[in-house]
Symmetry: C2
Subunit: 362 residues, 2 copies
């Protein structure tokens, strides 16, 4: 896969859609990526199949609350500091970087790091979307360890966490993120090539670009939503997608606490005043309900898009009065399995209802 400066608007837009409300601000991600590409010119993206079985692969990402990230963005050296500290910790050099998640910001971080270091990035990730916690990754759901996990900030502080329990690692890392001011660079999940070839979600960088391009083409030809749904149906992971709601945001409760951005967006139909639709989020959109009925729930993707342009809107950018369409997209198969649902199903978020694919609801 090739990614050039001219592709970045589409790529970031598509990544933001897959971020399903989270994954960080796509604008900042795109600016960082553009700058890195213009400076170094090199970006080595390889496919999952090209990774050697014994290659050492790690994930890098920004961890924290998206609302903080908008004002406290990286100085550009954290990711490489983090990677080098991980190499010191492991005592060997890292062969490839794999994104932890796809999102507007967190898809850019590994690419920027690749441009800086020349280490290849794998065209895949551990979710096919974004999730708020470190253990909510296929690598963890299928037996991989987050630890050792290295965290850095813009001041050069370095924290290394080692635990055999992924939930403990997440909790320790979350407390460090909060102390670091709400966001931090993280390098974790040291894995072998043979493991990620089995459990990563393949081709998602490609798909992000495809999604963004479909929206652009749709805008030119008249209906970005139609193009988008038709493109998603052609992909391996996102066969089903559907518009659930067309209306406006009439109430918004959003707070930054515990290292997350959490809240609820209430929507009504255009011209109506009563609330007929609700979306709850924890960094990412978790569930949509209407009249007491759940229409879609994690790990299925719930995307809030501008109702004219289909531009994805992240949770920290939601605002009163926005005219939006809400879309559900089926999650990749590895997320809908029993192991997947245990890691990222409704119960993992404290929602006491079973997962049901949105496309099987009437």
């Amino acid at each position: 896969m090739k990614l050039q400066v001219k592709d970045l608007i589409n790529f970031s837009r598509g990544a933001a859609l897959l971020g399903t409300g989270g994954g960080g601000d796509p604008y900042i991600g795109r600016l960082m990526l553009e700058q890195a590409l213009l400076k170094t010119g090199k970006l080595n993206i390889i496919n999952l199949g090209e990774v050697a079985d014994d290659a050492l692969v790690v994930s890098v990402a920004m961890m924290g609350t998206p609302t903080v990230l908008v004002e406290k963005f990286p100085n550009g050296s954290e990711a490489e500091n983090c990677l080098r500290a991980m190499e010191d910790e492991l005592g060997r050099s890292i062969d490839a970087i794999i994104p932890a998640e796809i999102g507007g910001f967190n898809s850019a971080i590994p690419l920027v790091l690749s441009a800086q270091t020349g280490i290849p990035v794998i065209n895949a990730d551990g979710m096919g979307r974004a999730f708020p916690e470190l253990q909510m990754v296929t690598y963890s759901a299928y037996g991989g360890a987050i630890s050792p996990c290295v965290m850095t900030n813009e001041r050069g502080d370095v924290v290394t966490i080692k635990s055999t329990n992924n939930r403990t690692t997440e909790m320790l890392a979350r407390s460090v993120v909060m102390q670091m001011g709400g966001s931090a660079q993280i390098c974790c999940y040291p894995m072998e090539g043979r493991f990620i070839k089995k459990y990563a979600i393949a081709g998602t960088l490609d798909i992000a670009l495809g999604i963004g391009s479909a929206i652009s083409q749709g805008r030119a030809s008249g209906d970005p939503f139609e193009e988008l749904i038709s493109y998603l149906a052609s992909t391996e992971h996102y066969r089903h997608s559907k518009l659930l709601f067309d209306g406006k945001i009439v109430d918004l409760v959003r707070k930054t606490s515990g290292g997350f951005t959490t809240g609820t967006a209430s929507l009504s139909e255009l011209g109506a005043s009563e609330v007929s639709f609700e979306i709850v989020f924890q960094n990412e959109n978790l569930a949509v309900r209407s009249g007491g009925r759940t229409l879609a729930i994690v790990p299925d993707l719930i995307c809030i898009l501008d109702r004219e342009t289909a531009e994805p809107i992240t949770t920290e950018a939601l605002a009163y009065g926005q005219r939006v369409k809400v879309m559900a997209v089926s999650a990749p198969a590895l997320l809908r399995s029993d192991a997947g649902l245990q890691a990222f199903g409704p119960k993992a978020f404290g929602i006491d209802e079973p997962f049901r694919p949105f496309e099987s609801r009437e």
Copy 2:
């Protein structure tokens, strides 16, 4: 210096007095030390002067809230895990251990570790008392770095913090302590022998034993306070001491928050009902006031002792109705210097008044 099982009651009692309310529960410290001594029989305590200039010395301690420690005590392997992780981090073996502080529990930890590993413990510490925060140590006040700092818990989790800013290291470590349940084992301040020979408070393990022995002898001969004050006057660091108050605890506000035990004890004279004396604490006793006047303040030592037996009472063991005597003891010279006061003076605790030695107050 020799320390045998028969000395442990006196040693722990004296260390608890120097802990000035903090430093952890002396009973648990003594039990751990007794068990370690009976099991291994070896305890190699060396004097500060015997340390080689180029020796690698580290501090070990339990960090957290004393109230938690009483119920969640170590399983015995944390300290060695912590030390070995520090050796891995530094890439060389550690030549000697120096206590960070003197306190009922935290004087025992390095000794237990020495008994387990055979690595000598230095008869000295970084405060000559106890303080609540990591950077409140002479090593930091005189230019040493806390970092790298390794933390472990009873489950085998390991967190390593590296920062050039000691205040940042304290804040990151504090957030990890809280996530680890309120207390954690810590190994930090890797230093050279030549540095600690200049800035450690020498002989404080000896003095702890001397204090405990003086109290015991005084109990036998009639007045433990008289013996105690006379012994302190003979030491290098604690020349001045004075009984400030004799009465009972009539009110106690104590909470566990932010990784500390904080609060206020109010006292009245025996037979009286109005409050005439107040002690504020943050793990350790910080200041005593009577009728709006400050009688003693950090870094001077403020010790609450049973009024009959002179048994030191730590902040987590304070209780309504206790009959106590309150004693002030002059802090070692390295703590009363400008550099010392910046690190552990009243302002370091948010108390807006200048330090004045208690013995110069009328």
